[in-house]
Amino acid sequence: MIAFERFTLANGLRVLFHKEPSTPMAVVNVLYDVGARDEHPDQTGFAHLFEHLMFGGSKHIPDFDAPLQAAGGQSNAFTSNDITNYYDVLPAQNLDTALWLESDRMLSLAFTPKSLEVQRQVVIEEFKQRYLNQPYGDAWLQLRPLAYQKHPYRWATIGKNIKHIEDATMDDVRAFFKKHYHPGNAILCIVGNFELATIIEKVAHYFGAIPAQPKHQRQLTAEPPQKKFRIKTIQRNVPSGAFYYAFKMGKRLSDAYYLADLLSDHIGNEKTGLLFTELQRKKHLVSEITAYITGSTDEGLFVITGKLNPKRSFEELDAAMWPVLAQIKNKKMSKSALQQLILKLRTAKAFQDQGLLSRAMNLSFFELLDSAELLNTESARYEQISTSELQTYAQELLDQSRCSLLQIQPK
């Protein structure tokens, strides 16, 4: 049970505080309700480029990192299709330093043309390092626009292509800040051995005077229901064929999310899962295979992925894949198998909840989705699931007409 307090400042900043008496450290997590899905289709990769610029100095503080490091702390951030999340971990006695830094960059950034120029180059190198200069690195750049045709999940956080990053202007960057970076669009979470009264006072001190701004009303194009199987094959310089069967699944808070999560663990498990036992062990079609979910806020993807064995073809695999999926749909999971999955989730969650940073990030994310309470109550949603519900859901999910298949063929 992760206990927490919650309050909201007059400017709209939502604040969560979780007291952890055993630690000498403090975590300050600031989540902004902006991700790649909020970008314009002609200016993709912006939310992520912007995350880099957030470390380039703010109105009153020329350098973000140096004061934090001098306080014994460190900081980082990540951008997803849904959110941008910043965090600072530092010795508890220097909590003020993190609040001072975070509040100043929420108030106003100090963009310089040089900072934009350099971070543009850094992001282009990141694009190369992670997506272009790796075997199979661009798989998701290809899979997204295949699975999503209207919704902005059709591009990756790094962007559709390098050109959008190359073309970003100072005006674009300023407009993006104004629209998304303000108290009403953020959630601040503090973890450490503090008193609530101290936290209330400090947060008001640093963040209270930041002017409120109207919250941007998100209007995303909904993804129309997929009615036909989609397939795309690309050629790359890779040693073996790779495949990605992506099925549309529910939104993050829908019942379908929990069902899909359990189902992916069940069928994707190495050694015991049906995908492994049938397609790898029995038929020797693949050298590796697994299943996982993307878990995005809007409609996500349930992905079955792996690599083909040499001398095996995508056609052979596909011919074997659908009967295996039919088997999953037709056969109800045993009660004991379901209990094992739940117990494994409990173990994983207990380890995850150990980490202060993980608690801070999850409290913030759940508060954004619905309520930070979910961190404590979500397990119950898994425990209520029955084997017949799982079977019914598998029948709905693993439908070929809702599947997008990307195949990467060796050149």
Binding site: Q69, N94, A204, N237, S240
Partner: protein, 426 residues
């Protein structure tokens, strides 16, 4: 009288006052010696449900040929005369346990994670499977096949190519330079793996770490099981450096980036210069505000990231800089790195920068000591070098004492460009 609710910050230019870290407590685990002679280290007082057991075996990749060590680690609990790999996995699933095996050059470390009331049950399953392992041919063939496929993917990565060449050249003429080659997979030998398993695992238990709020009965049950191993560790072979120097480039057609590794032989924690050199290394390249990051990423935009590190094992340590840069800026990156070495040799580190790095290192040490898992890892890092927790008190004292003159002297001694091994790929 009530206090005003709170006043808004008056001048945002003024940084809040910083409070130094006065004290860090380093807490040793409970230590017992098993009747086979191996040590058992236990940490409790977690106040949560988690637990883990970590077994260290003398079965690292440099203890035999690396292929045998790697395959043995991959097949440790993949079938006995009476149970298949799948049955064992299902039994572990039934108690909600996870495990992983990580292989370094010196050790194979097996870690089992479970809720505390399931850990003993999970370990019993694991223990029986490990002791009765028969390495079924079918499992071996499949693992060889999968590993070979994965290896082919690795060989396309410039970072993999550069790292391997760097290790081969730096550790030339030693067992640490032996690496698995693609063609090796053909000669995977089941009998050899079985012999390795008996010698390096069943007879080669080095030590055990346990974390979790476990009862004394559970602890005794663990001790009894663990006594089944032998603690016959091979005599450590002497290690002598014969490193290569100079630059080697591995061309990869069509690469957009080059992976770079630049380094030289150094030392581990047992050396008197280690703590002071850690400060120098941090200034140069081991934190976000480091000179390499500030210059090569934040000023020039040549890379997504660049860092310098001290890599250690019980016999030696080395210094290495790693990065991936655009192919067209590779040579310029070399010049900038050389420039940063020379700057550390010719100019004293400014007081403000030195003080910042000292505070940063103290903060990071405080974080590394936070919580039972972290504290045990910190302990393990010194124990394996034959040191104890007093090392950290010394480390703190030396960090506080080191001055710009000492750092300059170290830069002159250890950061000479012409003594570096320079590898690039891509």
């Amino acid at each position: 009288m009530s206090k005003p609710i709170s006043e808004a910050i008056a001048d945002r230019h003024i940084a809040p006052a910083l409070l130094p870290i006065e004290h860090i407590s380093f807490v040793a685990p409970q230590i017992s010696t098993l009747s086979n002679g191996a040590k058992l280290f236990w940490r409790n007082g977690l106040q949560n449900e988690t637990s883990k057991i970590e077994l260290h075996f003398a079965a690292g990749s440099a203890t035999s040929d690396p292929l045998t060590a790697s395959l043995c680690a991959g097949l440790l609990i993949n079938g006995t005369a009476t149970k298949s790999a799948k049955q064992i996995q299902k039994a572990l699933d039934a108690v909600g346990a996870y495990y992983d095996v990580s292989l370094s050059q010196e050790s194979s470390v097996v870690t089992l994670y479970a809720l505390k009331d399931q850990l003993l049950k999970a370990y019993q399953i694991f223990h029986e499977s490990l002791f009765s392992a028969v390495f079924p041919l079918k499992e071996l063939q499949e693992l060889v096949h999968t590993r070979r496929q994965k290896f082919a993917v690795q060989e396309q990565k410039v970072s993999f190519l550069a790292q391997r060449q760097f290790q081969r050249s730096l550790l030339a003429q030693t067992v640490y330079a032996n690496q698995i080659q693609y063609s090796d997979f053909e000669r995977a030998d089941r009998a050899q793996i079985q012999a390795f398993h008996t010698q390096q695992y069943l007879k080669g238990l080095k030590k055990v770490f346990l974390v979790g709020d476990l009862s004394t009965e559970t602890l005794s049950a663990f001790e009894e099981l663990l006594n089944a191993y032998e603690h016959k560790l091979p005599e450590a072979a002497p290690f002598t450096w014969q490193p290569e120097q100079g630059a080697t480039h591995i061309e990869q057609e069509g690469a957009l980036q080059s992976a770079v590794r630049i380094g030289r032989p150094l030392f581990n924690k047992t050396h008197p210069d280690f703590c002071a050199f850690s400060v120098l290394n941090t200034i140069l390249g081991d934190y976000f505000g480091s000179r390499l990051m500030s210059n090569i990423r934040e000023d020039k935009g040549y890379t997504y990231g660049i860092g310098s590190h001290i890599v250690e094992n019980t016999k030696f340590g080395y210094f290495v800089i790693g990065t991936e840069v655009g192919v067209s800026t590779r040579e310029a990156t070399f010049s900038e790195i050389q420039h940063e070495f020379e700057r550390l040799q010719s100019e004293l580190v400014p007081t403000e920068e030195l003080e910042l790095v000292k505070s940063y290192l103290m903060g990071q040490l405080l974080k590394s000591a936070d919580g039972s898992y972290a504290m045990l890892d910190l302990f393990a890092n010194v124990e394996t070098m034959g040191l104890d927790l007093s090392y950290y008190d010394r480390y703190i004292a030396e960090i506080k004492a080191v001055d710009a003159y000492k750092l300059q002297e170290l830069a002159k001694r250890y950061l000479n460009w012409e003594e570096m091994l320079i590898i690039s790929a891509g």
